[in-house]
Symmetry: C2
Amino acid sequence: MSNNYCVIMGGGIGSRFWPFSRQSKPKQFLDLLGVGKSLLQMTYDRFRKIIPKENIFIATNQLYIEEILKQLPELSESQILVEPTRRNTAPCVAYSTYRIHTIDPEANIVVAPSDHIILQEDIFLENIHAALNFVRENEALATLGIKPTRPETGYGYIQSDVEEIGNFKKVKTFTEKPDLELAKVFFAADEFYWNSGIFIWNVRTIMKAFHEHMPEVSARFDTGIELFNTPQESEFIASIFPYCPNISIDYGIMEKADNVYMLPAQFGWSDLGTWGALHELAVKDDNNNTTLKKNALYYESEGNIVAVPEGKLCVIQGLKDYIVAESGNALLICRRSDEQSIKQFVMDANLNFGEEFN
Amino acid sequence: MSNNYCVIMGGGIGSRFWPFSRQSKPKQFLDLLGVGKSLLQMTYDRFRKIIPKENIFIATNQLYIEEILKQLPELSESQILVEPTRRNTAPCVAYSTYRIHTIDPEANIVVAPSDHIILQEDIFLENIHAALNFVRENEALATLGIKPTRPETGYGYIQSDVEEIGNFKKVKTFTEKPDLELAKVFFAADEFYWNSGIFIWNVRTIMKAFHEHMPEVSARFDTGIELFNTPQESEFIASIFPYCPNISIDYGIMEKADNVYMLPAQFGWSDLGTWGALHELAVKDDNNNTTLKKNALYYESEGNIVAVPEGKLCVIQGLKDYIVAESGNALLICRRSDEQSIKQFVMDANLNFGEEFN
């Protein structure tokens, strides 16, 4: 039996891709690249190659249980870890830690987002394999650091230390998303890597880290430790989850722990967090237009991203560097350079016209 | 019993409003202004005030019979004059002439397009009433000439002569759509009027005009004159219609006849032939944006026309003077100044992606 486990975090909202991504069906459930599989399905299939299917868990909001079972029919419902309220990643990781600890106290776990793109899967899986071995042999919290290819301001960075164990570099600091000046400094320096948000650890190591760095969380989970993997689990989770702090695992543990190690990696990674990131990855025509999922006729147009439902025809004339996204009851047209405003647009839409446009 | 009749021509395709207007449902069947009635329904209701409902006929393509009966349920199917093939207005007028002549050889007929906008209905109806009286008393072909309010290049013009009968001016020439220079000359001169495409005549006068100016058409219709208003009529029409020349009544008769008179009129008329014409008539926000049939949020945007289906939300940012039109399986975004290219776009779409986008 394998001691390797995987937790895919699939509860995000992804409002930056509105209206293509909706609260009722966020981007991880969409085939944003038009390859015939959703981002979640691609993530699952990727891990499925090295981790037994019964050892894969999806952490998510209860809104998405049905969609997940539809997209991943070989999962049983018990493999979905339901978060009763949105509490960022730290409580979600705690939940998965306690559940898996009950099943297998020797478990080595990879925790990964559900909505990232990985182009070179073989290299990625080699890295994951190496990291699982590393955390089995070392009482360390591991992560994958992506070698930057540009001074990106949309990602957090990890600074590595000189100390190493094999290929794994000790982590000195995690940084927030930098401004462009700082991003250029990071890019020029050797020791900075993009924070992939992919973590690997042994279940005992992360359990210990919770007790050390987030005792207010582990104390709550400890009160019902005997209930995990029993019919009482979900009721217990519902009773403690709302009282957990709303913070990320990066902030709650990784930035504080002194046993964090990073494997430098390079496998064509994108968090696909913005339309711009999608444009970079997608196929483009001679005028740098990207057309997702449908037919388009472009006239005097360049640098656009067009995403509308399958079967729809777009005729675009005289547009340069715009996002055109249509889905369900909404149509968005905005400059690519202003895509950070999309969240605001969605809030305004919600305020003015109701939640059905979320 | 009234001798007054009306023929509404409702067989046009209206591709300049694509994709809002489709071959399967052209603009006359749409509520383009968002008033709760289609252009056809408004046209019918207008004439219904002065002409008995059984004296109103709709000439159309067989594709639209069902839609017309749905929109005008008080019509009987026999009031729809079905054109088996598209042959412009001259054969259509001939058909209506022969049918109505059989019903009432004293008939006075107004022939009008189904897709025009008339803002001052009372003045319009007074004009129609005057014209019906005029053609009963005079062997003349009458039309309404619209007093120009700008040097429009999108309309044909009528030049009036000095000769008059009452308020009706004899027509000297019909002109094609002018270029801007010529349109300015027409606008400055007193004797030029817009060609409204609305015609009024006694059935004997127009019948005589067909025999004189389009004998190749009347000869065909004469061969089955006893079949009009009988169960054999449609079979007969199907047998002769395809052999009729594909020309307009303006070109076939009005430009040639020497008994054409025009009533100068001014009742807030638009042929609603372009998005620009629609923009002019529609309600606009402070930034000159027109939003038809739905909700929109505009950011840094002005002078746009946005037409998408009811219930849809549009978020538009950073657009100036564009047309955004979405309907069914197509979305169009193009500069307002390039709207004359829409016909070309539709042809390209048809060629590249199939007729379902017509």
